[in-house]
Subunit: 248 residues, 2 copies
């Protein structure tokens, strides 16, 4: 099924009440510490949580809102930036593979290997042939860690509208507590909106073997709800148990 | 084409003269430092040299004889042992990917990811389904580093006979300068000869996308000849050049 991201709403469905949803989200979040403890104790599965989205789509906010109650001994974040000189001397998945979660751990990727088929496409640093090659290797790589190490991969796309992005970028200038996030390049990103959406559509088409979860993200309360719900329901479906002491 | 390793000779063809061959090998080795220098200076390609073979097949000897004249600034060896506790919490290729060569470098693997489909099969730690899964991921992985980082992979199997192995293992006991290589488990390995050969045959069948080079290795001089020749001819075929200073 081809995804056309421009056809998907960036807002919560009409029947979602904000306050009621927030209370429900909190109930999910309350179940998370116990689930994480079991994940760690059992040491059978790992979680890789990929958070993608254009600038100002609220990636940092997700990490803070959903994972602040989680024990950092079993959870860490890697925020991906432009590759270093050493990283550029390796294949694009080399630095990514290094950071995948070991069994028992939750790893959050703030941005990810998908940047290597997003910004690189928009800026035309790679051609279609190279992009297709990378799609293939991304699928292989995700299949490797899920098949050979029981890594559960949750891929979230934070879906905001072009107008919402512009408004949030403006806020970075106006709000002193957000100034530090301001980058003079921000406005170019909004100008390249369509190119980014096309690049994302291609990613959804080509790398959906482990499915993308499109999260309407104009409203933070709805975004946080979807992510908390998806994560907790996924962990509960594993029916994890604490290992017992075995007498020998 | 199915490979049956037991049908392949472990000795040099009759028409190979030992002394003449050794002189020829030296000529290849003399060309290696300049080629390595170009590899490093150009920084376009990398070399991954995989050396596999049963115990006492002469893997350490190859590293010493073929690579001793090479600048260690551009060449390093990883000798793979049983995985550590941390490594066992990741997929089997995690520690391997970490050690692949960056562009411009030569990396020698003394043993490799293939141990994860060899000793594991012989000892029945994994079943056929898991082995097939690993074959697939090994092929994907080798394709990733060759397609996405210009890594040239040379895979050498050091082919000795069962009798030759037994003789060499005996020598480890008799020769004080080889005592340190002795392992009480050595003799079990010789007893499991057929199981190892079957496991290797499966590897050759399933992971020959980047082809294996079977090196008759009962005689060290012939083994070294084949490896030096293959490596030098491979590097020369790249037609590497030194980068020029570009005036801006």
């Amino acid at each position: 099924m081809k995804i056309d991201i421009s056809k998907i709403s960036t807002r919560a469905p009409k029947d979602f009440d904000k306050e009621k949803t927030k209370r429900l989200t909190q109930k999910y979040l309350d179940r998370l510490p116990e689930l994480q403890n079991k994940l760690y104790a059992q040491g059978k599965f790992g979680y890789l949580i990929i958070i993608q989205g254009v600038d100002a789509s609220g990636k940092d906010g997700v990490v803070k809102a959903v994972f602040s109650g989680v024990n950092p001994a079993g959870c860490s974040v890697t925020a991906w930036k432009a590759p270093t000189e050493e990283e550029r001397k390796h294949d694009f998945l080399w630095r990514i593979h290094d950071q995948v979660p070991e069994k028992g751990m939750i790893k959050i990727f703030n941005r990810s290997h998908y940047e290597d088929v997003l910004v690189t496409r928009v800026e035309k640093w790679i051609d279609t042939k190279e992009a297709n090659r990378r799609f293939k290797h991304i699928n292989n790589f995700e299949s490797l860690i899920s098949e050979c190490n029981n890594t559960i991969i949750l891929k979230f796309y934070l879906h905001i509208s072009k107008e919402e992005q512009l408004e949030r970028l403006d806020e970075r200038i106006k709000d002193p507590s957000k100034n530090w996030k301001y980058n003079p390049n921000d406005i170019n990103v909004n100008n390249k909106w369509d190119a980014y959406m096309n690049a994302y559509d291609e990613v959804f088409d080509n790398c959906n073997q482990i499915p993308w979860i499109i999260v309407p993200s104009d409203q933070n309360w709805y975004k946080e709800h979807i992510i908390a719900k998806t994560l907790v329901e996924s962990m509960e479906s594993l029916k994890m148990t604490y290992p017992k002491i075995t007498k020998k």
